[in-house]
Symmetry: C2
């Protein structure tokens, strides 16, 4: 049985040690055994569990959602379909965000392009390209006229 101290667990899972203690505090991780000098000792199960938690968090699940998911992992009498539904709901949210982000990327890229094309002669106080970002006018038109 591999036994890790908090630093090793932290490194293995890419988690801050303080965050591990925090998770223990809120009951997301079980209280581990302690060695002689009161230091926490973790086993491979803990590595797996924390990896799972971190991955879910990275995926944007809230702590409460992760709690639900881990309880599903723990309690096999409950349906894996429940997990599927949770993941599916999350997928929908991710896809919405993705669509919006793509639109944003497009408009910023366009903005930068216009800048490159029209600001080369040097900027002026009447440059209007900043209006683009605030939606004052549609992107692309004249820019940087020196008064």
């Amino acid at each position: 049985m591999a036994s890790h101290r908090i630093g090793a667990l932290a490194e293995r899972t890419g988690t801050n040690a303080a965050t591990i203690r925090y998770y223990e505090g809120i009951g997301l991780l079980p209280r581990p055994d302690r060695q002689e000098g009161n230091q926490r000792r973790y086993g491979d199960d803990d590595v797996r569990r924390l990896t799972f938690i971190r991955r879910c968090r990275d995926f944007g699940f809230s702590i409460e959602q992760v709690r639900t998911l881990t309880s599903l992992v723990e309690d096999r009498s409950r349906s894996c379909l429940e997990a599927r539904d949770l993941a599916h709901a999350h997928l929908v949210a991710v896809r919405t965000k993705l669509r919006e982000l793509r639109a944003l990327e497009k408009s910023i890229a366009q903005f930068v392009e216009v800048c490159d094309a029209e600001c080369v002669g040097g900027p002026g106080p009447d440059c209007v390209i900043l209006d683009d970002l605030s939606g004052k006018r549609p992107i692309a038109s004249s820019c940087c006229g020196t008064a």
Copy 2:
């Protein structure tokens, strides 16, 4: 000149009224005029500005980053090239976020797919798809065997 009260501005921009007051408090939005009874009145400029802020926030830019961007929009004496550079830096950030989000979408979708494919016969106590998330095994394989 269209003049909105806080509720109208909130609805138009998809922002909580409390958040609007909060933005005012931290100086992200200018203090608006007040009507007779001390209620805030906003114009179309405010609608645009808040729309811009919300858009940036939705895409993960911090309040401080948004502050920089809006100051560029506001202060015309500064170079539009500065705005270009900032926008370009933001574009890089957005693209990174996009990549991450796409990867996320892919893995959640895959997870849901595996669930759909393998859990249709009904879940069992030995369902192992949850192991996928904890990294016990690679995604995709048998699932939900009823003991």
